[in-house]
Amino acid sequence: MSGTILVVGETVDGQLTKLSTEVATLARTLAEANGLAVAGLVAAPKGSSAGEDLARFTGGDVGVVSAEGPAALDGAVAERKAEYVFLGATPDGRDAAGRLSAALGIGVLTNAVAVAWEDGGPVVEMSVFGGKLVTRSAFTGKSGIVTVRANAVAAEPAAKPGRVTESTATASDAKVRVVDRIEEAAAAASIEDAAIIVAGGRGVGGAEGFKLVDELAEALGGAVGATRAAVDAGWINYSQQIGQTGKIVKPRLYLALGISGAIQHKVGMQTAETIIAVNRDPDAPIAEYADLVVIGDLFEVIPALIAELKARAG
C-alpha cells in the first residue's frame, strides 16, 4: 500500500448524502486500481447508520465520531494521517477543505468533475471560468485534499462493506456556537445532489407558476432549481438558485423553463449532460447551447409533458 484515501461522509438529518456515496465510489475505484487503502469518516451526532452506509461504498474501514462542529471533524481527519482526503463539493465540504488545507499544510483542488491517477497521485479535472475551460491539476507533494462535484461518477457499493468503529471526538469547537436552528419549510430536494433538475426563470411568472415546475420535477424524480431573477422576485428560496452567485450544478438532465440562459445563469449549469429548454423566445441565449429547445408557452407545453409522462408511467 502506498497511502490512504480518506472519504469524509456528509449527513443531512442523520442520513448519508447521495454525493457522499459517489465520493466513496470514486475513492474506492482509484484506490483499488492504484494500490492504495480507502477509509471513511463520519463526524455527526447519531452518525452510526450513516457510517454503515458509507462503509458499504468505501469497502474500507469507517470511523464514526459522535460530535458536531468543524473542530471535531478536523481533529478526526488530522488523527487519521491519510495522504489524500476526498469530500463532496458542498458548502460544508468546501469549508472543511479550506480549513484542512490551512491546518495540515497540504494542497487543495476543488469541484472535481473527474479524477484520474497519474505519476502516483490524483489528477483533478475542473471546470473553470464558468465552464469555458477545463483544467487538469495535480498536487506538487504526495498529499492533498479534493472536493468532488455531484454526478462525477455513479455510486456503486463495494463487493464487501468495511468495518465501522465508533469513537468520541477529541476536539470541540468553542469558537462558533449554534444559537438556533429555524425550520422554515420542508427540505427542498438538494440541487447539488440531483441527477435531474427542473429549473424555472422569469418566464414562470410567479410562485404560482413554480407549482407547475414542482409538478414536473416530481414526475421526473428531480429537484427544483431557479434563476436569480426568480429568487430575487421571492418566488423560490435562495438555496435553489443556480448560476454565478448561486450554486453550480452538473446534473444528467437540466430542464430549463422560461429561462433565457444569459451568461450569469449559464455558468451554473452548462456542464449538464443534457439540456432541454422550453421558451417562447427563439432568440434566447439558451437556444445556442441546449440540446433541445421547444419554442412555445411553457404553461401549455409542461401540462402536456406531465400528461404524457403520467400516461407512460401507466
Binding site: 479550506g98 494542497g107 462558533v176 444559537v179 436552528r181 425550520e183 443534457t274 402536456a304 400528461a307 404524457e308
Partner: protein, 262 residues
C-alpha cells in the same frame, strides 16, 4: 464603532465572456476587464450598511497585480474609507494556499472587529480561501452568511446561515471572519460624489517583504496545472416549433432515448 475589513478580489468580468489562460497556464489579465468579484460586492454592501447604522470604517483588502488599484477604486467609490493592496511579482499565479497565507498575514497588520468576504470568486470558484484565512489568522469562521448582526457591546456577532430546511443562527466572538452571499442584498451603485471622493482615498500597497513573507509556501502545500483544454463541444441544438403536444413529444423522445425516464 465597527472596524470592518472586506476582501475584494479583482476578477476578470464574467459578463465579458472573454476569460482565458495564457500559454503558460496563468490568467490572461489583458483578455478581459477586471471587476470586483460579485460575491465580495455583497459583503462590501453589508459592511457599508453596518457602518452606516452603527458607525465605523470599512477597509477593502485585495491581493492582486499593482494595476488593481483601479478596481479597488470602485469599492472605494461605493463608500469604503481606504484600500490595502498586497502586490508582489512573486505572487503571479498564486494558488489557494498562497492566497490564504498572504491575506492572513495582511489581516494581522490591520485592526478590525470583522473581516467579510464573498463565499467564493467567479474566476476559480474554489471557495476555500476564507476558511483557510480564518485558520491561519486564528479567527472564528462563519460561512454562507445571509445576514450579519454584530453586537459591539457584547463583543459578539450573529449570522444566519441557510440550511436544508431554513437557516441556522450562528454566533462567535469578535474579531471573526464571515463569508457572505447574494442574500446579503444587492450592492449599491457608486454615486458621482462617491467616485470623485474615491480618487483621493488612500490605497496602501504592501509587498511580501512588508508582510515578512520571504520564502514561498512549501511544495507540499501547492498544486500545479497539468493541462487546460476547452470543454467538449455540445451537440447541435434541436429546435422544435409547433403545438404543445408536439413539443411534449419531442421532450419525451429525448428523455427516453437518453435513459432519463424512470
Amino acid at each position: 464603532m465597527l472596524r470592518l475589513v472586506v476582501l475584494t478580489k479583482p476578477v476578470p468580468d464574467p459578463a465579458s465572456g472573454a476569460e482565458r489562460l495564457r500559454p503558460d497556464g496563468r490568467l490572461d489579465r489583458a483578455a478581459s476587464p477586471a471587476v470586483v468579484n460579485g460575491n465580495d460586492e455583497y459583503a462590501l454592501e453589508a459592511a457599508l450598511k453596518l457602518t452606516e447604522a452603527q458607525g465605523g470604517e470599512v477597509t477593502v483588502l485585495a491581493m492582486a497585480p499593482s494595476n488593481a488599484t483601479e478596481t479597488l477604486r470602485k469599492a472605494l467609490a461605493m463608500g469604503a474609507q481606504r484600500g490595502v493592496l498586497v502586490s508582489d511579482p512573486k505572487l503571479e499565479g498564486a494558488d489557494a494556499p498562497t492566497t490564504m497565507r498572504v491575506l492572513a498575514a495582511a489581516i494581522k497588520t490591520l485592526e478590525f472587529d470583522l473581516v467579510l468576504a464573498g463565499v467564493d470568486t467567479s474566476d476559480g470558484g474554489m471557495g476555500v480561501v476564507p476558511a483557510g484565512i480564518a485558520v491561519l489568522a486564528g479567527l472564528p469562521y462563519l460561512s454562507w452568511a445571509a445576514s450579519i448582526e454584530p453586537d459591539s457591546a457584547a463583543g459578539t456577532v450573529r449570522i444566519r446561515r441557510p440550511s436544508a430546511t431554513g437557516f441556522d443562527v450562528l454566533e462567535a466572538k469578535m474579531p471573526a471572519l464571515i463569508s457572505g452571499t447574494q442574500a446579503l442584498g444587492a450592492p449599491r451603485y457608486p454615486s458621482l460624489k462617491g467616485i470623485m471622493a474615491a480618487r483621493s482615498k488612500e490605497v496602501r500597497t504592501l509587498s511580501l517583504a512588508d508582510l515578512g513573507l520571504g520564502e514561498a509556501v512549501p511544495a507540499e502545500w501547492t498544486t500545479r496545472l497539468v493541462a487546460a483544454v476547452p470543454p467538449p463541444a455540445r451537440a447541435a441544438t434541436q429546435v422544435v416549433r409547433g403545438s404543445a403536444a408536439e413539443g411534449a413529444k419531442a421532450i419525451v423522445e429525448m428523455l427516453s432515448s437518453r435513459g432519463l425516464l424512470r
